[in-house]
């Protein structure tokens, strides 16, 4: 059984107009695998509690975890995390959780990551794990965001680019100047053009809003990917 632990916020960083990353130091945190999440519990002064799941952007040993949270304006928990939490504040967390939606360096298949919005969080952990481990398997990320400003971890993703890691962006609302294509959705054609082909039998991890994840997973299977090798994590929305 995994217990609730008290974490202390050590840092916050604005990532997008609606999102930021939060670093939390958690006494007794055992480290985590790439792709795992934690449950976060807030308690109001009157005792009312709310629990939400957040993926962990950081990976490996150590008692510090990095989250990245996007704000639902009418939500109960995310506006607090994005707008109000300050270094020194305490948050209750439980984890690391989940051993299904994870990538470890022992997996030597080519890997295709597909993120929608904040769905990048567990996938950047996989990209970091890939870089840290020196794994030579091919990694490719397809990252769908509304506008260039909505990219989480944009600088880091650029710095991770290498012979074995490549990022493709799809903009759904507005693109950078000189972008070759107008705003578009991640359709089957886009997936076919910008991802590792089913013929190469990659492992695929898809994460983001539920509608996005289900549309992408369906298209991947239509394109010939083995449903067993397409792992999905739905954030809701």
């Amino acid at each position: 059984m995994t217990d609730w632990k008290v974490g202390t916020v050590t840092d916050t960083r604005t990532e997008t107009p609606t999102g930021r990353s939060i670093t939390i130091s958690v006494d007794g945190w055992p480290g985590n695998l790439a792709g795992q999440h934690l449950d976060l519990r807030l308690t109001a002064p009157d005792g009312y509690q709310a629990v939400r799941s957040y993926s962990i952007a950081s990976v490996g040993d150590g008692s510090t975890v990095e989250l990245a949270v996007d704000r639902f304006p009418t939500g109960e928990v995310s506006p607090y995390l994005v707008d109000d939490v300050l270094p020194g504040d305490q948050l209750e967390v439980k984890g690391p959780l989940g051993r299904w939606f994870v990538w470890t360096p022992e997996d030597t298949r080519p890997i295709q990551l597909v993120a929608g919005g904040s769905g990048i969080v567990p996938l950047i952990a996989m990209a970091r794990a890939h870089a840290m481990s020196g794994s030579t398997t091919a990694f490719r990320l397809l990252y769908s965001v509304r506008t260039p400003e909505d990219r989480f971890f944009a600088d880091e993703l650029a710095s991770l680019e290498s012979e074995t890691f490549h990022v493709d962006y799809v903009y759904t609302r507005s693109t950078p100047a000189d972008w070759p294509t107008p705003p578009r959705r991640v359709t089957r054609d886009v997936i076919e053009a910008l991802t590792i082909s089913a013929a190469d039998a990659p492992g695929v991890f898809v994460c983001g809003p539920t509608g996005f994840v289900e549309a992408v997973a369906r298209a991947l299977v239509e394109l010939g990917h083995d449903p067993q090798s397409v792992k999905t994590e739905r954030f809701g929305g």
């Binding site: 059984m1 995994t2 999440h37 934690l38 449950d39 509690q49 709310a50 629990v51 939400r52 799941s53 439980k94 984890g95 690391p96 959780l97 989940g98 051993r99 299904w100 939606f101 809003p209 539920t210 509608g211 792992k231 999905t232 994590e233 739905r234 954030f235 809701g236 929305g237």
Partner: protein
């Protein structure tokens, strides 16, 4: 409106009851026989503390698991699962 998520979201709640990660556990649906990991089943309502959670079969929509947490206790029911297979090798999450 809150859309559904999937069994990954219940890793924390289920860890209150089971001593191992349950997202990799395989369940067989009593309604249609579909057999898959809990991570891939559909979950409605994830704040078990507030409203309870319902796990439905990804293929026939039958209710597989219901889960209600209160500060005092967790109540979990398995109305639609015939077999739940948990790998002994899976170390505690």
């Amino acid at each position: 409106m809150t859309s559904h998520v999937d069994g990954n979201a219940l890793a924390g709640s289920l860890s209150e009851i089971f001593r191992t990660d349950m997202t990799t556990a395989v369940c067989c649906c009593g309604g249609c026989g579909d057999t898959t990991t809990i991570a891939t089943e559909m979950v409605y309502g994830t704040d078990a503390l507030a409203h309870g959670s319902i796990v439905r079969c990804r293929s026939c929509d039958d209710v597989l698991i219901t889960l209600v947490d209160t500060p005092e206790r967790t109540v979990v029911r398995f109305p639609g699962i015939t077999t739940l297979t948990v790998d002994r090798e899976t170390p505690p999450a």
